[in-house]
């Protein structure tokens, strides 16, 4: 794996591009947004297919309900807004109007985590993985790069039921080749080091890989797991890592409560008890700043991962 860290793209951009392509392929796709189409990038679809694009205005609850109604009539709605307004503000609508009736709505939420940056705490969603994975019938996907995001936008079309797709604002390195294969519910193991495993998701995957490369030069062999599907979680890859490596570290741009770290703890506590070191946002709100500065401030960047592992190994 040779990553060019200079070539970057935000997964929200990949989403917008993939959605436009998907719209050409499938007539039953409709897209809804809540006055954020230029930020969520659904505008790319809107320009191409104005009749199948619905701007519901600043009304996320109504947007989710409208999508539910469309889904009862065999439409496949892709619904977008910022993660905080999707999973947070419209939680009850997602719960009662989408997940309980198991309607085929794809909630593609952009601007997750502290990497939203300057907008600050009100706009930095740190609880969405937690809120969404607890809902029955929901699939939760959190992609790490352009290639994976484009795959996911297409792949979730084939899932018969609600999906939460977590997308980021921050442009991050392209990790995978266009030919790389992914599978819902199957994490990706990068390297087979046995000193420690870093399980990451979304924007922290590139940080973990960077840390892995750096530690390698110091003689420490790390394995990274890109956990792009949070639910259903890949139990096997976690248990295997716990058996084969000395330490387990999770890192996420999300609260350490209820997110990836908690998911890994749940798997290991029931199957192969082992200490899990959770890196993420530690029961606090975010703050304004540049996205890269915030990754550093909240200790979820490659340097923080290196420090953590250096202490452990």
């Amino acid at each position: 794996m040779n990553i060019n860290y200079e070539v970057k793209k935000a997964t929200r951009q990949s989403y917008g591009e993939a959605l436009k392509e998907l719209g050409e392929k499938y007539n039953d796709i409709v897209v809804l947004d809540a006055d954020l189409s230029s930020a969520t990038k659904t505008e790319l679809f809107a320009k191409e297919f104005p009749n199948r694009f619905f701007d519901i205005g600043i009304a996320e609850q109504d947007m989710m309900g409208t999508a539910a109604g469309l889904a009862t009539c065999n439409k496949i709605p892709y619904v977008s807004t910022f993660a905080v307004f999707a999973a947070g503000r419209a939680y009850d609508q997602i719960r009662n109007s989408i997940c309980y009736p198991k309607l085929n709505v794809k909630i593609c939420a952009t601007h997750c985590g502290v990497t939203v940056g300057e907008d600050g705490a009100t706009h930095q969603m740190l609880e969405d993985i937690s809120l969404m994975r607890t809902l029955p019938n929901m699939t939760v996907v959190s992609v790490s790069d352009d290639t994976q995001a484009k795959w996911a936008v297409q792949e979730i079309y084939n899932i018969n039921g609600p999906v939460y797709l977590r997308l980021a604002r921050l442009a991050t390195p392209i990790i995978y080749d266009a030919n790389d294969k992914f599978e819902i519910g199957k994490g990706i193991q990068i390297g087979d080091g046995t000193d420690a495993t870093v399980i990451a998701t979304g924007v922290t995957v590139a940080e973990a890989i960077k840390a892995k490369e750096k530690l390698q030069s110091e003689g420490k062999n790390i394995r990274v797991i890109d956990m792009h599907t949070i639910k259903p979680i890949d139990k096997d890859i976690i248990i295997k890592a716990a058996k084969e490596t000395k330490h387990i570290i999770t890192v996420e741009d999300h609260s350490i409560i209820g997110g990836l770290g908690s998911s890994v703890c749940e798997v290991l506590s029931e199957n192969y008890p082992k200490i899990v070191h959770r890196m993420g946002i530690k029961d606090t709100f975010g703050k304004s700043g540049k996205a890269e500065e915030l990754l550093k401030y909240f200790k979820i960047d490659s340097n923080a991962i290196c420090e953590k592992i250096t202490k452990l190994v």
Partner: protein, 271 residues
Amino acid sequence: MTSEKELKEIANKIRIGVIEAVYNGKSGHPGGSLSIADILAVLYFNEMNIYPQDPKAENRDRFVLSKGHCSPALYSALALRGFFNYDELLKFRNIESNLQGHPDMNKVPGVDMTTGSLGQGLSAANGMAIAGKLDNKDYRVYAILGDGEIEEGQIWEAAMTSNKYKLDNLCVIVDNNNLQIDGTIEEVMSSYPIDEKFRSFGFEVININGNEISEILEAFDKAKKTKGKPTAIIARTIKGKGVSFMENQVGWHGKAPNEEQYKIAMKELGY
């Protein structure tokens, strides 16, 4: 066309089904179920194109009971219309029954949308109406909202959507029985003037007595002829209508009659 006389009888049968369901289930919401019985009689036995043998038919008219707690009335109408066996009503809210406390579209044939959390049904109805327009289908979508329910902000978000997309295939009915759990609508949180609100949101508004079959028939007819905008029928009703001791009594919002009350109610309904 079903005659007015027949529809009145059907409304009465729906009420009997409501009492049977709530009494046998020993829980449920009789008050608001009884207030909408006449509207449901007209919808399910005259107005809507529905197919009990093919409940998911693509060209069927859709119905959303946004005030989902009044499921006994919907279940009663569906059973009488032949969507499922009438005896199912007696198992309402039972652990072994498909008739959940609030309507579940995946468990009950004829239920077009799962509801229960108030304020969400109009959005879903909009989605159905938009889908109909996209597919050039001529089905219509009906949604019953409660006068207390419209205190939920999402209803007004949805009303803007109905207007924006000129959903003339959508007909909203507000069950204005003037009571909610904690008291009258005015006491708790006035949603009045309901008609002026919907009118200002771009709806064609029709005020009727919602317990009067002829007025309901006429209103639906007018709604169907309205083009370019959605219709809202503000139906003034009596909560608990048809059972004397339940009428206009806030206490009968969500409780089941005891055996003695059940017998009186059934007698009053001519069972």
